[in-house]
Each structure stands twice: as structure tokens, then as C-alpha cells.
């Protein structure tokens, strides 16, 4: 059974480490906040200028001046601070945020990410995504394994305009987890959703990657060798 969105978020949340400052993208990545392990000290950053995001407000606690980057109402914590947009992106661009979890339209085997425009369609703009992938230490993508037409989203090369070149470190889809040790290396398939086998992932993936599933006979090279 493929992972649900919540299970994908929970899997991404396992990458959080004590003391991390983390930026969560809009949509499924926001769900990661619900799965932070108890006892783990993680501070969430929102690029509109809030560091230390609390949960959504109760009725009656809503404050129009306290929102996250998704423009959702939010609350403060005892550690919260507010900064200007320039300072907020100073944190991001300056490498002070350890991890960001983002959605994607496509990821390429060399780590290229496309998640901001489809030629011929109304372009809404990159928002803060280009800054995040350029400056945050580690980038995890949460996305469905295939698009609505069934086409693979993890590809040899992105067909859509890039958000960043060679910026993705880990991919969590509804079927599998891919990661790579560093940005000079190719991706490895390291986990499968329950009931999903490596052959199914292979059939639904265009990108080349190395199969590193525990218990499998030997690492195999699928499709083509990732270029570095």
C-alpha cells in the first residue's frame, strides 16, 4: 500500500534532528510539523519573517498579524521572534536553516528541482522557493511518485523550468524514499512503502538510481548511471 500524504510527511519528519531550524513548504510539507518526535527540539521558520511557529490558533486566538508563509493564521511559542523579510532570507540564504521540505513537479537524477512554472500556463511566481533551495543546508522533496497522467516525476532531466540546479538531497514519494550521500553523487533507492516492490518503483521512475534496499540481493543500477 502506497504511503498516504500524512505517512509521507511522517517519513520526512524522521530526518529532523535535535536543534534543527527548519522551513516547511506550503501543502503536504506543512504536515511534517504534526510528526515531530516528542523530545526533539525543532524550530520552524516561516519566510515571511517568523521564527518559532506555533500551532494553528483556537477560535478567539486568531490574530491577522500572525501568519505563516501559506498566509494561514498561526500562533507564537515562548521562543518566537519576528524579523523583516530581508533578515528572514538572510537566515535562509546565509545557510542558517538546516533543512527545508518542499513539494515538486519534477526532480531530476542530478538533483535539479522544478516546482514553480509550467510553460503556457499562468505563472504565479517562485515565491521563496528559489531562495530556499539556494541557501538551506538540506532539501527534502515530498511528492507523488507519478503525475496525474501517470508520468514519472523523478526523471533523467527536468522538462519544466528549474527552481534550482542540483539542490535536492532526498525524495519521499508515496511509493519510495531516495537519497544521496552528497551533491556529487547519484540517488539511491533506500526504502519502499509497504507492499510496494522495487520493480514497481523501477517501472514508474525515469531517473537512474542505485537500488540499496536492505535484504535485496545486491545493489543494481536501474535505467542509466546518474551523471554527477
Amino acid at each position: 500500500m502506497p504511503w498516504t500524504r500524512d505517512e509521507m510527511a511522517a517519513r520526512a519528519a524522521r530526518e529532523l534532528q535535535d536543534g534543527f531550524y527548519v522551513n516547511l513548504g506550503i501543502g503536504i510539507p506543512t504536515l511534517v510539523a504534526n510528526h515531530i518526535a516528542p523530545g526533539l527540539d525543532v524550530t520552524l521558520q516561516s519566510e515571511n519573517g517568523m521564527l518559532g511557529l506555533g500551532p494553528f490558533p483556537r477560535e478567539g486566538e486568531v490574530d491577522a498579524d500572525v501568519i505563516n508563509a501559506g498566509k494561514q493564521t498561526i500562533t507564537e511559542l515562548d521562543r518566537t521572534s519576528y524579523v523583516s523579510s530581508a533578515d528572514s532570507f538572510g537566515m535562509i540564504r546565509g545557510g542558517h536553516i538546516q533543512l527545508s521540505v518542499l513539494g515538486a513537479m519534477e526532480v531530476a537524477q542530478n538533483g535539479d528541482l522544478a516546482n514553480w512554472m509550467v510553460p503556457g500556463k499562468m505563472v504565479k511566481g517562485p515565491g521563496g522557493a528559489m531562495d530556499l533551495v539556494a541557501g538551506v543546508g538540506r532539501i527534502i522533496v515530498l511528492m507523488d511518485h507519478v503525475d496525474k497522467a501517470g508520468a514519472p516525476k523523478f526523471r533523467k532531466a527536468c522538462s519544466l523550468p528549474l527552481t534550482g540546479a542540483n539542490v535536492v538531497d532526498m525524495i519521499v514519494t508515496n511509493l519510495a524514499v531516495f537519497r544521496r550521500p552528497d551533491r556529487r553523487s547519484g540517488f539511491e533507492l533506500v526504502e519502499l512503502a509497504p507492499g510496494v516492490n522495487a520493480a514497481e518503483v523501477r517501472a514508474k521512475t525515469e531517473a537512474g538510481y542505485v537500488e540499496m534496499i536492505p535484504g535485496s540481493v545486491a545493489p543494481q543500477l536501474s535505467a542509466s548511471t546518474p551523471s554527477s
Binding site: 516561516s46 519566510e47 515571511n48 519573517g49 517568523m50 500551532p55 494553528f56 490558533p57 483556537r58 477560535e59 486568531v62 490574530d63 491577522a64 498579524d65 500572525v66 501568519i67 505563516n68 508563509a69 501559506g70 498566509k71 494561514q72 493564521t73 498561526i74 507564537e76 519576528y82 524579523v83 523583516s84 523579510s85 530581508a86 528572514s88 532570507f89 535562509i92 540564504r93 535539479d112 512554472m117 499562468m122 505563472v123 504565479k124 511566481g125 517562485p126 515565491g127 521563496g128 522557493a129 528559489m130 531562495d131 539556494a134 541557501g135 523550468p161 528549474l162 527552481t163 534550482g164 540546479a165 542540483n166
Partner: protein, 235 residues
Amino acid sequence: MVQKVYPDAAAALDGLLRDGMTVAAGGFGLCGIPETLIDALVASGVGGMTAVSNNAGVDDFGLGKLLRTRQIRKMVSSYVGENKEFERQYLSGELEIEFSPQGTLAERMRAGGAGIPGFYTRTGVGTLIAEGKETRDFDGETYVLERGIVADLAIVKAWKGDPYGNLVFRKSARNFNPMAATCGRVTVAEVEHLVGPGELEPDQIHTPGVFVQRLILATANEKRIEQRTIRQEAA
């Protein structure tokens, strides 16, 4: 004492407006936007504006009001997704858009206000955003040259202000307002609370009065919420 406080928005904008001017506005989404001054720009009829603002408001609120009346010719923004009228004008070619990544846009305004005409950033390298722009390598990494922005007029929203133009913003309504305030040749601020001289704690002032030439008490403080999200409590 120089009189920075004006009786209303129309008076504060008097003599500052001309067709084709560049206007920088504070705000993120509908949070921290100068509602009163936007209404006054609508009423003034000034046209052909280039608006520098992270977002474009929604159809009937924020900068969306100036789009509906076609007073804006060009937007410099990072994300314009919440506005149907924007989409219509853009697709029909009536409206020009220059996308700037959000952090780059904030830094362009900060730089413009700080006398820095350009800066190098990693953001956008290898993407359409960097096309046609100069790049340079530093320590083995490629960076793209982005230009600072200086606007003819900046309009900002603050929580508190004093007669010297010192401003304090509130919570996440700060966002782009401090940078917008610095990048205007003339900056007009609207404040929710106009306090007396000495009432603001000097150590707590976010934007000092040197950046603010004119000031009004905000009369439009709807503070519309785009995504009212409430915690689901377990019963």
C-alpha cells in the same frame, strides 16, 4: 519641528504622484499592507504605475484594487497567485510582470535603500531568473548579479509611529515594510497608533524617522485574513 504628520492620506500623497511612477509597498499577502494609502492611490487616479510588492493582493483588496482600476502597468513581485483579475490582465498582455525570488526582492529593496546598486546571490542560478544577468564565481560557486531597487514612492504600514516618523511594526506584519520604507525617494507611512514624542522606546524602533517623510493615522484597518486556519481540537 518638521511637520511629518498629515491630516489624511490624500494630503500625505499630495504633490508626490505622477503617471508612470514606481511605487514600493510593504506587506506579505494581505498582512501588513498599507490599506489606507492604497485606497488613496485608487482615488487619486494616478496611472501607469510600476508596483514593487511581494504579492498583488486579491481581486477586491490590497493592490488588487489598483489592478482592477488598471492603474498598475507593471508588477515586480515574487508570487501573484491569489488574484484572478491579475491573471486576466497578464494573459491579455495589459500587465507586465517581473518575477523576483522573494529573498532577492527583499534584498533588492534593502540594497536600493542602502545605496547598493547591485549584489550577487546564489538564488536563481541555473534558472530563468538568471537569464540575461551577469554571473560571477566566488570560491567555486556561481552567483548572479541582481539590481537594487529605488522607488519614487514607498508606502508602508506600521503598528505605531511618532511625529518624528519613527515606526514600530507588529509581529509578522513587519515583513517587507522596513525594506520598502528605506527604498522610497519619498516614504509615506500609515500607522494604527500615532503616539506622542518620546512614547516609543528608542531601543525598540524598527524603522527610524530618517526613512519616513510623511505619516498618517491609518483609517482602513480591515486586516483581512487570507487563510483563516483554526486548530482542530480533539473532543
